[in-house]
């Protein structure tokens, strides 16, 4: 692959690296796993980059590849611990910035999200990223109606996890 291709790829990834960090944040439980997934996603993005034709936005394409990588690894992984506590340190959340109830609510929410399955996590990620249903459907390769239905189910599921 040519130098200019490498250069443009690394520049784009440097600019949009938060997307990969966000995917890693939802699919991993600790810093080491976060770093591993970040590296794996980077390699997969690089492998897929020559086929990126610019039909969709670079960021949309990145979400798609990153989520696919995370989902594939998540399915392969036997090491994951479903109920492992959310590691607040990892995300550098400063407790003093929240009032106690809000902080507690957020912590429970993150824990609940970690209990969702791989596809549900992808939906939540795109929802948190404030993507509209058209973008969600494009990224996940499902219909808009399907995306809405699935998102509603996820909301219900989160409610059940939070209020058993």
């Amino acid at each position: 692959m040519s130098k200019s291709l490498e250069h443009s790829f690394v520049e784009l990834l440097e600019k949009h690296q938060n997307i990969v960090h966000k995917v890693c944040r939802l699919y991993t439980n600790n810093q080491a796993a976060h770093n591993d997934l970040f590296q794996e996603v980077t390699i997969q993005l690089w492998k897929a980059y020559p086929k990126f034709r610019g039909d969709s936005k670079f960021s949309t394409w990145m979400y798609r590849v990153a989520l696919n990588t995370a989902i594939t690894l998540y399915r392969k992984s036997t090491r994951r611990v479903k109920t492992q506590a959310f590691d607040a340190v990892q995300f550098k959340i400063k407790a003093e910035e929240y009032d106690r109830t809000e902080e507690q609510q957020l912590k429970l929410m993150y824990q609940a999200i970690h209990e969702l399955n791989d596809i549900e996590k992808a939906l939540v990620l795109l929802y948190l990223e404030d993507k509209n249903y058209n973008e969600i459907s494009e990224t996940l390769g499902i219909t808009e109606v399907n995306a809405r239905v699935k998102m509603n189910r996820v909301k219900k599921k989160l409610k059940t996890i939070l209020n058993p």
Partner: protein, 213 residues
């Protein structure tokens, strides 16, 4: 769901809190593809081994091989085979170890060292295969000249006609010619497969060195 909206706000507020990797750090990550090249070197060496095992299995029914097997050559051929397989197994282990080390490291320095090691291992592997081929052919010929009655009678016949030198010279020329041809084909094969992989590995090595400088 209120909690989800609260989470959305928090999520977006965290945008600036993720680690910021530099251009060079990301570039190093894509150079990690070295690990997939080394993985392929390991896989191809195994496939090559399987290929030659299958070929030798089919050659077993060949008349020449049958005649050779009828000779009492176990004392020579078994140690030769054991040494050959032993060294091959050691090379597979080295290839696998290189692959594991390369895929497990994040350090550019270790990556570079392992790329150099892999390159050295591949060169030694190719040299071993070629030397082993030549040694095996010489050993087989010595055995044939000592034990194959058909060949011994041909030698004796040539000697009685005063053509022993001509017989040996022709024999050696034919064997050497065939060996050169086979080595040429093997070298071409190694150059095509391992050469291309090593070239890519080399490119990664140079890039890493440039980044380290």
């Amino acid at each position: 769901m209120d909690e989800l909206e609260l989470l959305k706000k928090d999520w977006q507020k965290n945008d600036g809190r993720y680690p910021k990797l530099s251009y060079d750090e990301i570039y190093r990550m894509i150079l990690k593809r070295s690990s997939s090249i080394v993985k392929w070197i390991f896989i191809i060496s195994l496939l090559e081994f399987i290929f030659w095992t299958v070929i030798s299995f089919f050659l077993k029914d060949n008349e020449g091989m049958k005649r050779f097997q009828e000779l009492d050559t176990d004392m020579v051929m078994i140690p030769l085979a054991v040494i050959g397989y032993g060294i091959l197994a050691y090379f597979f282990y080295l290839f696998f170890r290189n692959y594991k080390r390369i895929s497990a490291t994040d350090s550019a320095k270790v990556l570079m060292e392992n790329i150099l090691k892999t390159r050295k291992t591949v060169k030694q592997y190719v040299a071993f295969n070629l030397i082993y081929l030549v040694v095996s052919v010489i050993v087989v010929l010595c055995v044939e000249f000592k034990m194959d009655q058909q060949l011994i009678s041909q030698v004796n016949e040539a000697a009685t006609n005063g053509e022993a030198f001509k017989f040996y010279a022709t024999f050696i020329l034919i064997v050497a010619g065939m060996l050169i041809l086979i080595i040429g084909v093997l070298l071409l094969f190694y150059w095509l497969i391992y050469g291309i992989l090593l070239k890519r590995l080399n490119k990664n090595y140079k890039e890493l060195k440039r980044l380290e400088a």
